[in-house]
Structures are given as structure tokens and as C-alpha cells.
């Protein structure tokens, strides 16, 4: 249990998707003009990361990595399909996003109307594929660890996007030099936020 909390806190603050790895930057910059839309996208990302990372964990460990198919019988022990992982992961993500969209539409129409347009966008958000690829690279021991990593990364993204949206709402009232206006100042503010998040690096977990 302690290990799970550990991984969660690590992926929210220390290995933050946006500030430490720059994943999901495109939607981070495009959808952060107001806090309410940022909130919607953030929740959708937590949702999808929390589901796709454990699912891809199962696929990775029971089908793709070297020797993973041994449970099918002795003939499959030597099979190594790891070169297929990109295409499998992206297919899983695209279909999970579709599934999540349909489930939410059926059972939680209120949530659907607020998340609606963001869910399809998420299939090509690099934070989602990045989550699965980092899960593969870091070799988590079991599915609970993978799930807590997925959720933690989602929460990290949520914090980042809501934070920058709040700052951008305020920055509209200040007199930014012309060439820096809009995109430029957003980059620099994100850099400064990243420096703030770096102060978590010293924490020993």
C-alpha cells in the first residue's frame, strides 16, 4: 500500500507529465484559455489515463513482451512481439477512448455534456500514449502499481492545466510586450511553473 501511494505522489509532483516530460503540451497550450474548459480536459485525461495504463499493462505482460505468451502453452515461450507495442498501444487507446465515451454518454449524461468534445481529442494526446510507454519502460511490478501511476500522471496533468489556465486568465489584464503576447508568455510562465515543481525533486519517498 505504501508503495502505491509512493508511486502516486511521485507521478503527480516529481515526474509530472507536463513539467518534467513535456507530454500533452499541445492540448495543454490549446485548451488552457479559460479555467472551465481546462477543468473538463483535465478530468477527461485523469479518466482515460487511469483506464488505458492498466489495460496496456495487461497487454504488455500477457501478449507483447518476450516470453509473455508462455501461458498459452510451451510452443509460445519464444515469441517476442515487443516491436508491435506502439501499434497495439495506440489501438487500445483509440478504442478505449471510444468505449469510455459511449459509457459516459449512457450512464452519466451530465458528465458527458461537459467532457463531450474533449474525449475524442484525447486519443491523440501524447500524455496518454506517453503514460503507456513510460509504464513499459519502468517495468512496474503489478497492475495496481501501473494503475496508480496512470492515475497519478492524470492528476499531475490536471494540476498543471488548471494552474496555467488560471494564470492566463489573469495575464490578460497585464501589459505584455507585443511579440511575447499569447504563446510566448505562456511558454515562459510554464517554464517558471516547472521550476517551482522542481522543488519537489528533493523529497525522499
Amino acid at each position: 500500500m505504501e508503495g502505491l501511494v509512493n508511486i502516486f505522489v511521485r507521478s503527480v509532483f516529481i515526474d509530472n507529465m507536463v513539467f518534467a516530460y513535456f507530454l500533452g503540451m499541445c492540448s495543454y497550450l490549446a485548451v488552457s484559455k479559460t479555467v472551465s474548459t481546462a477543468n473538463g480536459l483535465g478530468i477527461a485525461v485523469i479518466f482515460v489515463l487511469g483506464i488505458t495504463v492498466p489495460v496496456n499493462y495487461l497487454i504488455e505482460n500477457y501478449f507483447l513482451s518476450a516470453g509473455a505468451m508462455a501461458w498459452l502453452g510451451p510452443g509460445f515461450e519464444a515469441v517476442d512481439l515487443s516491436f508491435l507495442s506502439f501499434i497495439m498501444f495506440i489501438a487500445v487507446i483509440a478504442s478505449m477512448v471510444q468505449l469510455v465515451e459511449m459509457t459516459v454518454e449512457k450512464f452519466a449524461p451530465a458528465l458527458y455534456s461537459s467532457l463531450g468534445i474533449f474525449l475524442p481529442l484525447i486519443a491523440v494526446n501524447c500524455a496518454i500514449l506517453g503514460g503507456s510507454l513510460f509504464m513499459q519502460e519502468r517495468e512496474y511490478a503489478n497492475i495496481a502499481e501501473a494503475a496508480s501511476f496512470g492515475l497519478g500522471s492524470g492528476v499531475g496533468f490536471y494540476l498543471a492545466i488548471v494552474g496555467i489556465a488560471a494564470i492566463r486568465e489573469k495575464i490578460r489584464y497585464s501589459n505584455v510586450p507585443g511579440p511575447l503576447r499569447g504563446l510566448g508568455i505562456t511558454f515562459i510562465v510554464t517554464g517558471l511553473m516547472g521550476i517551482a515543481f522542481m522543488s519537489f525533486m528533493g523529497i525522499k519517498l
Partner: protein, 217 residues
């Protein structure tokens, strides 16, 4: 097709396809696409150049393939078709890198895979290759990838020079003798946040030279 209808290979229009993404329509600083991978691999020049070349290769060929297939792809499933084409090309690039440039491939780690979700590739397929002939699509792909690549290389150049005092692992600052007169490497440049600030400064410089890009309030 008669000869008079054919456009020359490098007509003014085609050259323009290649050159606007370098400045006026730059994928990173103007269209805000493909930022994710742009920032994470720019600590050193070498991985940045390798990633830039990989993106040029993937984007040029993806645009050509989609342009060839554009009349046969049903509209409803085009996103999946595009993802499959891109993912297959990226697998090819990844295997080539692992076979011939293993060290660089280790440094790039997940970012080769992330070319798949690099929004600039999907964006150009949707916006250009689905509606245009093969040769212009190829030029558009290469042009946009090059516009992406040069930002990557400039950022990596400054971060490596100021952060580690080297250029392509050649110790420039040491050879210039700057360490003897009290110069120190700025270790801060190696850390992730400085990539964002460097891109911010590039945007600043670019927009103050090219004033029509300035955003209105």
C-alpha cells in the same frame, strides 16, 4: 496528360509549400503543434538532430502514402487509417534506430514512439495530404517537418552550449579557454524548464522580426 498541363517540379507554388512552414507557418512557434517531443529531447544536439531527421522521414512518407490512398479511404475511418500508417512508419524508424544508432535510441527512449501522437503529423495529413496530389503533399510534409526540425536544433544548440559547454560533444568552451578566466557552465540549462523558456525566447525574437505574427489582445 499533355505536357502543357503539367506543373514544373519546383514551381513558385511548390517552393512556397516548402518554405512557409520554416517561418510564417512554423509548426511550433505559430501553429503550436508537435511541442511535446520538441522540448524533451533538446538537452544535447545529437538526439535532437536524429529526432528531426526521423520526423522528416516519417512525415514525408506518411503524407505521400495518405495522398496516394486519399480517394480510397472512407471518410468515417480516416483517423484510424492515418494512425495505422503513422504507427507502421514509426515502428520502421524505431527498428532502424535500434539497429544502427543504439545509444541515441536509448537517449530518445519513449520519444521515438511519441512521434505517432505528434499532432503536427496528424494535422498535416488531415489538412493537406487528404486533399492534394502526391508531389505537393510530399513537399508540404518535408517543409513542415523541417520547420519543426530547425526549432528543435536551435533549442538544442543553445542548451548544449550553455548547459554543458559543448557542441556535438566537442568541448567548445574548454578549447576557448573560458574556464581559466572563471566561466562556469550554467547547469540550469540542462533542466527541463529551461527548454520552455528557450522556446519562449525564440518566439519572442521571431515575432519581433516578423511583426505580422503578433497576436492581437
Amino acid at each position: 496528360m499533355s505536357k502543357t498541363e503539367r506543373e514544373p517540379m519546383f514551381s513558385a507554388k511548390n517552393i512556397k509549400l516548402l518554405s512557409t512552414p520554416l517561418n510564417d507557418e512554423n509548426p511550433i512557434t505559430v501553429q503550436v503543434l508537435g511541442i511535446c517531443s520538441a522540448l524533451a529531447v533538446t538537452v544535447k544536439l545529437e538526439p535532437a538532430v536524429v529526432l528531426a531527421v526521423a520526423v522528416v522521414a516519417v512525415m514525408g512518407s506518411a503524407n505521400v502514402i495518405i495522398s496516394v490512398l486519399r480517394k480510397t479511404i472512407p471518410n468515417r475511418i480516416r483517423i484510424i487509417v492515418q494512425l495505422v500508417v503513422i504507427a507502421s512508419l514509426v515502428i520502421l524508424v524505431d527498428q532502424v534506430l535500434k539497429a544502427f544508432f543504439y545509444d541515441v535510441s536509448r537517449q530518445l527512449s519513449v520519444f521515438v514512439g511519441l512521434i505517432i501522437t505528434n499532432c503536427i503529423i496528424m494535422g498535416r495529413l488531415e489538412a493537406f495530404a487528404l486533399g492534394n496530389r502526391i508531389w505537393p503533399s510530399f513537399l508540404d510534409g518535408v517543409g513542415n517537418a523541417a520547420g519543426y526540425g530547425w526549432i528543435l536544433i536551435v533549442v538544442a544548440f543553445f542548451r548544449e552550449l550553455l548547459g554543458s559547454g559543448t557542441v556535438w560533444d566537442y568541448p567548445v568552451m574548454e578549447k576557448l579557454g573560458l574556464f581559466n578566466i572563471g566561466y562556469e557552465n550554467n547547469g540550469f540549462m540542462i533542466l527541463p524548464p529551461m527548454a520552455l523558456i528557450t522556446v519562449g525566447v525564440i518566439i519572442w525574437v521571431q515575432r519581433s522580426r516578423n511583426r505580422k505574427l503578433i497576436e492581437s489582445k
